[in-house]
């Protein structure tokens, strides 16, 4: 049974030794040498310091291509033409599945054909020295962004390769991403990642860790997302991580998004130990985008406006080409500039929105209810508790593909467009809180003259790409 306890240095070293056999580039990892490499990096490449000392929301895109020179060119463009403050390196899908052989084939093919035959940067295959070359050739801090349930080797190589921020966590990179990864095992794998980040921290290299807030990216009720963030923050803190960025994905209702971001920050500071520097990241809309760049810019603009009011420490931007998949670097930079324009026009305005405080209280009460359940499931242990809570469906994520979660909870928007819970299944939320969700959805049902049902869910999933927020029944349809 997995417990939330710190891995010993002996355990850490034993696991690292085993991992060295997984791919030849692991041989080059030398912890002490890597610490001194990090010590020599200039201040503007220290991710945690840049993020934590910022006086306005920093912007960061997503981006990753297979070849090193192309990745340098892409990131340089996003930094210079897009004005990105923080940069990403998105890892390819084969690496996320620990298929380094296939990633190698893809990388070699990319080098031969000049085509992007991988959907990201295969950092394990590139190895320590080439990761360092990337860090050195780009003038901003770079985070590893991926989606890897077992990211131990990726962490070993990219930390040694000079990266100082690493996205993901045992729940957020398992439950929304894959079907067959056992949650307990994934927690053990991330205890290694977090312990390694913690060890670097103890040697003066504060590695920033960022749990992936949007989860399935599809109408996730804020309380569920925030509960997962707190769990992953607590697990990381136990292993010695001292810079943690908690995430949240835009749902599109301005009041609910501002309330949720404030709740995320306040609960993060309350639940995580004092020695952890807690920051927050807001992800622009992660669901389906309009198939029209002009309309997509509207979605991105609303994200910028939300960020200007809520003031998260960081915003992950989208591009107007989101609908069609991976954007061109120009479109990616355009998403950054659109977001910047809106934030910079709005951030000095004092804007107060009716209902934010009430919604924040509701999000906080709901999150506490879920956290109480998680701790109760584990007799006070958050690691064991989260495994048990997911196994019993007491904690659940809408549209979760994982066998480790029930995936039975269904969300829908209320009459105001806020995301509520339509189907609770076994979700262990206090009854008085459940009643609020149900009452709000009844209001919508009455407005629309139809029953509360999965049809609202189906309509809501497509609403934003169809040009609306709430999936109302349309004229001409009975």
């Amino acid at each position: 049974m997995v417990r939330n306890v710190r891995l010993s240095t002996e355990e850490l070293e034993a696991i690292a030794d085993d991992l060295r056999d997984n791919w030849p580039t692991a041989e080059a990892v030398d912890f002490r040498e890597a610490v001194s490499y990090h010590e020599d990096l200039p201040d503007e490449k220290r991710f945690a310091e840049v993020l934590e000392s910022a006086d306005r929301p920093l912007l960061q895109p997503r981006a990753g291509v297979p070849r090193l020179d192309d990745q340098v060119e892409l990131l340089t463009h996003l930094h210079e033409d897009g004005g990105a403050d923080l940069l990403p390196t998105t890892i390819d899908s084969y690496t996320r599945d620990n298929e380094y052989e296939k990633a190698q084939e893809g990388l070699e093919k990319a080098r031969e054909t000049n085509d992007d035959t991988l959907n990201g940067f295969p950092a394990v295959n590139h190895g320590v020295d080439r990761c360092r070359e990337l860090i050195e050739r780009v003038d901003a801090p770079i985070e590893v962004r991926h989606g890897t349930p077992d990211a131990r080797l990726l962490a070993m190589i990219t930390f040694a390769g000079g990266f100082q921020s690493f996205e993901g966590g045992p729940v957020s990179y398992n439950i929304p991403y894959t079907k067959r990864h056992d949650l307990e095992e994934t927690i053990e794998h991330w205890q290694f990642v977090d312990r390694l980040a913690g060890l670097y921290t103890e040697f003066g290299v504060r590695i920033n860790r960022e749990p992936f807030g949007p989860l399935t990216g599809t109408l996730v009720p804020p309380s569920i997302a925030i509960a997962v963030m707190l769990v992953e923050g607590l697990l990381a803190a136990e292993q010695g991580v001292r810079s943690i960025t908690l995430g949240y994905g835009q749902v599109g209702n301005l009041v609910q998004d501002v309330a949720a971001l404030r709740a995320l920050r306040s609960l993060g500071e309350e639940y995580l130990p004092d020695e952890v520097a807690v920051t927050t990241v807001f992800h622009e809309w992660m669901g389906g985008f309009p198939p029209d760049e002009a309309r997509a810019n509207g979605v991105i603009g609303l994200g910028g406006a939300t960020a200007a009011v809520a003031k998260p420490d960081k915003v992950i931007t989208k591009s107007p080409q989101e609908f069609q998949g991976v954007p061109t670097m120009e479109a990616n930079a355009a998403g950054l500039r659109t977001t910047r324009q809106v934030i910079d026009m709005m951030r000095e305005q004092h804007i107060s929105l009716d209902g934010v405080d009430e919604e924040q209280q509701f999000v906080e009460r709901s999150t506490r209810s879920l956290m109480d359940t998680i701790f109760a499931c584990g007799d006070g242990d958050v690691a064991n508790g989260v495994v048990e809570a997911f196994a019993t469906g007491k904690l659940d994520v809408p549209f979760a593909p994982s066998d480790s979660a029930a995936g039975a909870v269904l969300p829908a928007r209320d009459d105001d467009g806020r995301v509520r819970i339509l189907e609770f299944a076994d979700l262990a939320l206090d009854d008085d809180l459940k009643e609020v969700h149900t009452a709000r959805l009844d209001e919508r049902a009455e407005t629309e003259g139809r029953k509360r049902s999965f049809r609202m869910v189906a309509d809501d999933v497509d609403a934003i790409s169809d040009g609306r927020l709430i999936g109302r029944p349309q004229e001409g349809q009975s």
């Binding site: 599945d97 894959t178 079907k179 549209f399 995936g407 869910v457 189906a458 349809q477």
Partner: protein, 148 residues
Amino acid sequence: MTETVILGVIGSDAHVVGVTILEQALSAAGFDVKNLGVQTSQEEFVAAARTHDADAVLVSSLYGHAAQDCEGFHERFAEAGLDVPTYIGGNLSVGQDDWSETRTYFENLGFSRVFDSETDPEEAVEALRHDLDIDQTEAETEPARVRT
């Protein structure tokens, strides 16, 4: 009699939203739905069709590798002695391919019907009722608008 429909996302695709909503729509329309979920292999589709004596098999794919993932799919069904309608839907082409070409490609693989990602679940329900000779007056449904 309740018709049994097997549902799943083929290959290593993890797009779960469409299949979840389709499951809800088919269940509401009175079908007995066995949703195999995401990342379902060809073998798992065949095994489930045999175990549950399925009346139809619906395959979803959204990540662009449907052509590779479905290679040999119908040969496996034939080997297992199963002859049921098979549908496929989602983002089936890679890049800017013409839809009619894409549809023909998957029809030639052996799929009885091919749907794009803009399809209402109700269309799949109607198609199943037609292909399985189900009396349409039995069930009452309201159309749902969603991409599968």
